[in-house]
């Protein structure tokens, strides 16, 4: 394995030690951090833009919309009914007065006059039938302030009139029947008496009759009113009546008239379209106690999909926040909202309510919670999974390449990733250059070492020769000192030794090329101060290592200087340098 690859591999290996995070872990962590930040931004954005589903607010909004539509339906309908009632009052008043004028009767003359009443009813029946078919209602009535028999015990509360009714269900077959009035007259008009028919009204069940009879001075547009929900005597039908007074031109109170909204009709007519399941709509007189509503006091209806279940009894309400109220008292707990509505100036406000089953609300809340938890869990799992997958996917070729580096002797790996491919190429080139450099250095080192060895051998030999000469000189001097007589002989021997040294220098001189020696001598002058210094160290007997240590440079630097010195002196080895130097010194010594 080459050195660079090893270095990279070791670096990676070091990074995967337990004490440090691996590339995978590090990248995964960064990606997770990124995902968390994105999720945080998303949550913040959703929160700031109010995009989070809030079940309480959503429920309130949905119910509020329902109650507004319901309120508009009721307001429009009752307004229309009131207008039609006022028109009916005017029409009937006109017909009654026309009849009285035609028969030269006063209104009071109708009392105990069954024939005249029957004729009058016959006159009124067809316009009433027409009006009934035109209006959205379940019944129509005209109640005259007179009776066919004033001698009866109950005459004070018995008043004649006509009361026509349908059963209130939406059906292609919905016959009109006579609830009150002359049965013979109605049969002549193909109207059958109701099975619970009676001839006259019992006004003791209709206090509005007495009230309206006392306000004849006011215009009928100011005095009309609606009854509370009432049960028609001898039946189980619960109805609400519009009461419009009929005032003659002379101010005589003729009676009241109006339309009927029955419980069945209300439930059929007001069934509301909605996307919320199982809603119940309430229309009630305003409760005397704020926190309780009596369901039996008013009407209710369901939705157009067919759901309708009227709560039973009295419900108590508790605020639940966000404008919602819980209602208890029925077998089913409800959640809903209420509102108020005014239908006429002579009736107190009515309460409207829209109730949903608490179970539906709880279910929706649970579903929403589960949905949210699931959504965020899926997002989180997807984020973790994606981070894991992509970090693996991203690092896998890198780690694979590193593994290649680890297993291969030379960088011949290949990668599809341009950056890694470039890295491989770079490492390969570095390897190649390094190999070349190392080869050159090894060769130089080998050459230098062999030269050094050779020079050292020669130097040692010269040294030995020099030391031998010195010893001989010392012996000669010793001999000179020992004996006077032997002075001459000693002097002779000294001279002989001198001669021997001269001979030796001469012999060396004879080995040297004169031209090369001259170039050597000339080249010394061209040496740089550093080269001259190194040259002198060589002359002093130091080797390359010692010189490098002496001048605090690398050996390679000394070798480099050597090259220059050799080049300038025209020599090619240290041995040659030392040989020429020795000759140069000998000549300098000879010249004195």
């Amino acid at each position: 394995m080459n050195n660079i690859a090893k270095f990279v591999y070791e670096a990676v290996s070091r990074s995967s030690t337990p004490s440090r995070w691996s590339l995978k872990r590090r990248l995964f962590s960064y990606m997770m951090l990124l995902v968390c930040l994105l999720l945080l931004f998303l949550v913040t954005a959703l929160f700031l833009t109010d995009q989070f589903d809030n079940i309480e607010e959503n429920t309130y909004d949905a119910l509020e919309m329902q109650i507004k539509v319901f309120e508009k339906d009721i307001t429009d309908h009752f307004d229309t009914i009131a207008a039609a009632g006022i028109s009916l009052s005017q029409t009937v008043t006109e017909l009654v007065e026309d009849y009285l004028t035609e028969h030269d009767l006063r209104f009071s003359d109708l009392t105990d006059n069954a024939d005249a009443i029957a004729q009058l009813q016959s006159t009124l029946l067809k316009p009433m039938l027409q009006q009934l078919s035109q209006e959205n209602c379940s019944g129509i009535y005209v109640l005259l302030d007179t009776t066919v028999n004033s001698s009866l015990a109950h005459a004070a509360s018995s008043r004649t009139g006509i009361y026509l009714q349908t059963n209130g269900y939406k059906s292609s077959y919905n016959p009109i029947v006579l609830l009150r009035g002359n049965a013979e007259v109605s049969r002549e008009n193909d109207i059958m008496p109701h099975r619970k028919w009676t001839l006259e009204f019992d006004i003791s069940h209709l206090p509005e009759f007495e009230t309206l009879s006392q306000h004849t001075a006011l215009p009928i547009t100011k005095t009309f009113c609606f009854t509370d929900l009432m049960t028609i005597p001898r039946t189980e039908m619960r109805v609400m009546l519009l009461c419009v007074p009929m005032i003659g031109t002379d101010g005589t109170f003729l009676g009241i008239c109006g339309f009927e909204i029955s419980e069945n009709y209300f439930a059929s007519y007001y069934a509301q379209p909605t996307k919320v399941d199982h809603l119940t709509y309430l229309f009630l007189p305003s409760p005397s106690e704020k926190d309780s509503i009596d369901i039996t006091s008013g009407f209710s209806c369901g939705d157009t999909d067919g759901y309708y279940r009227a709560p039973q009894g009295t419900l108590t309400s508790h605020a639940e926040g966000h404008g919602l109220y819980s209602f208890h008292g029925d077998a089913i707990p409800y959640l809903g909202i209420t509102g108020q509505i005014t239908l006429s100036p002579n009736n107190p406000a009515y309460t409207l309510g829209v109730l949903m089953r608490k179970a539906d609300y709880d279910l929706e809340k649970r579903t929403e919670t589960i949905k949210n938890v699931s959504l965020w869990s899926v997002l989180l799992i997807a984020a973790v999974g994606s981070s894991y997958y992509f970090s693996r996917r991203f690092l896998s070729p890198i780690l694979h390449s590193l593994e290649q580096l680890k297993t291969e002797e030379e960088v011949t790996a290949f990668s599809n990733i341009p950056e890694i491919a470039d890295l491989f190429e770079f490492l390969s080139e570095k390897d190649r250059m390094h190999e070349e450099s190392m080869t050159e250095l090894a060769e130089e080192k080998q050459t230098a070492e062999s030269e050094k060895e050779s020079l050292l051998q020669k130097y040692e030999r010269v040294q030995l020769e020099y030391l031998e000469t010195q010893r001989k000189l010392r012996d000669a001097e010793h001999s000179l000192n020992e004996t006077q007589e032997e002075h001459k002989s000693t002097q002779t021997e000294f001279e002989k030794a001198q001669l021997e040294l001269q001979r030796l220098a001469y012999s060396r001189q004879a080995e040297i090329d004169p031209d090369a020696y001259i170039q050597f001598l000339d080249g010394i002058e061209t040496l740089t101060p550093t080269e001259r210094k190194i040259f002198n160290y060589y002359l002093d007997g130091l080797n390359v290592k010692e010189i490098a240590e002496t001048i605090s440079v690398k050996e390679s630097t000394v070798y480099s200087h050597n090259k220059n010195i050799y080049s300038k002196l025209g020599i090619n080895s240290l041995k040659q340098l030392l040989r020429y130097s020795a000759l140069m010194r000998q000549q300098e010594k000879e010249r004195g």
Binding site: Y169, S172, P193, K196, Y307, Y308, Q312
Partner: protein
């Protein structure tokens, strides 16, 4: 260790098996948290919102609440009209309401709507459960597609009298209730009443043609209808039976009711009426006369007058409950409602309150000791039991178009009867006048 593992595995298997069996036994499409709504058309209390609506409210507040069913009454009509309304709804005619999920129905309506479009109650009731109902009532609801009409209640006809006025009439003429046991005595009493009252009709009859049919059957002893369900006018027996009723009608002694006979009695216009036993709920406690005077009704209810033949017949009618095929959930919900509605005690209470005969066999055990709401109900059920003991109850076979023909007949007779009575009073021969009605009768095809 191995033993422990085996034991644990066995326990796990056993728990799974028990859980599966328990779950399989309780499989239901109903969910109390998401109730299913059933729209319901019925014929009980068309003009008074009487007992059926109360039962529906009771169901919604109890079993309906527990199981997740809401029954919503969206139409209350009558037996002669409901078939046409259902057909209009099913055909989606303009202005027709939505087809109901459950409805009162004759067996003939199954043919009209297509029995295959109706739920087969056999799917939802076990044989053991069906054995709790009077077999002939269950049988009457069978069609080619199975048990399409589930029995709920059965009615017959009875004679309803204004007891207060009859007492005065009886005191003056010597006519008694016993005289009204046969048609002969009944028509004689009617003639006397006409004379006694100064020309007032004695009795209003809701379903005149059924009395002709029953008289005919008692005389012939066998079914007499042609293939189309109408009469063989070449048969002299048909003529005889028709004329038996047509002559008193032509004289003004009896009349076809304008719609329901009870209104004629309630207005004091006629002394008595013959109609469904179920009409008891519509009789008033008082009679109101044109001068607004009133008197107690003192309603007396007698068995139908008979022809005096060896075998006598009484009509048996009454609709059952059918369910329109939509979803399995609605079919299951309908079966829960019908099962609840026809449970013994509840069926008895409903039958008594509405003047019907119950359909549960258990109810017949208890009805004799039943505490009736008032004397009128007691006399009604006395009359019902007398008739069931003495006579044979027969249902008229259902034929398509039968009600249209009878309505045409009644409408024609209503238009004719006043003039015929005036002409009879003027001295014209009653038989000749009656034959005019015969000709009219024959003209209906």
């Amino acid at each position: 260790m191995q033993k422990l593992l085996t034991l644990l595995l066995s326990l796990l298997l056993l728990t799974s098996l028990v859980g599966c069996l328990a779950g399989c036994g309780e499989q239901t499409t109903l969910d109390p948290n998401n109730p299913v709504t059933l729209s319901f058309w019925h014929v009980y209390g068309e003009q008074a919102d009487a007992p059926m609506n109360r039962l529906v409210a009771e169901f919604n507040a109890s079993v309906g609440l527990e199981k997740g069913i809401v029954v919503n009454v969206t139409n209350v009509t009558n037996t002669s009209k409901i078939g046409g309304q259902l057909k209009s709804a099913m055909d989606g005619e303009p202005g027709a309401p939505e087809m109901p999920d459950i409805f009162s129905s004759h067996t003939s309506h199954a043919g009209l709507l297509g029995a295959e479009n109706l739920v087969d109650w056999n799917t939802w009731f076990t044989e053991k459960e069906l054995k709790k109902y009077v077999p002939e009532f269950v049988e009457s609801g069978m069609t080619d597609a199975g048990l399409s009409i589930f029995p709920l209640s059965k009615s017959s006809y009875a004679l309803f009298l204004n007891g207060t006025q009859f007492a005065r009439f009886s005191a003056d003429t010597g006519v008694t209730y016993d005289d009204l046991a046969t048609w002969e005595g009944f028509f004689a009493a009617a003639a006397k009443y006409y004379e006694w009252s100064g020309g007032k009709t004695f009795c209003a009859m809701d379903y005149l043609i059924r009395h002709v049919e029953l008289d005919l059957q008692s005389k012939k002893g066998s079914p007499f209808f042609l293939d189309d369900g109408w009469f063989d006018f070449d048969d002299s027996a048909v003529y005889d039976s028709w004329m038996m009723f047509a002559e008193p009608l032509s004289k003004g002694h009896i009349a076809v009711s304008e719609q329901y006979s009870n209104t004629h009695v309630t207005t004091g216009e006629m002394l008595c009426g013959i109609g469904s036993t179920a009409s008891i709920t519509y009789f008033s406690d008082t009679v109101t006369y044109p001068d607004n005077t009133t008197e107690p009704m003192d309603l007396h209810i007698l068995p139908l007058p008979m022809s005096g033949s060896e075998i006598e017949y009484i009509p048996q009618s009454g609709v059952g409950i059918a369910s329109y095929q939509t979803t399995e959930q609605k079919a299951e919900a309908a079966s829960v409602f019908v099962r609840w509605l026809t449970e013994g005690k509840r069926n008895l209470d409903f039958a008594v309150q509405t003047g019907y005969m119950p359909v549960c066999t258990d109810a017949y055990q208890e009805i004799k000791s039943y505490e009736y709401p008032n004397d009128a109900y007691a006399s009604l059920f006395d009359a019902i039991f007398t008739m069931r003991e003495k006579y044979t109850a027969v249902s008229r076979p259902d034929f398509d178009g039968y009600y249209a023909k009878t309505n045409t007949l009644y409408d024609g007779l209503r238009q004719m009867q006043g003039a015929l009575a005036d002409r009879a009073d003027a001295g014209e021969d009653a038989k000749t006048l009656a034959e005019e009605t015969w000709e009219f009768f024959k003209s209906i095809e």
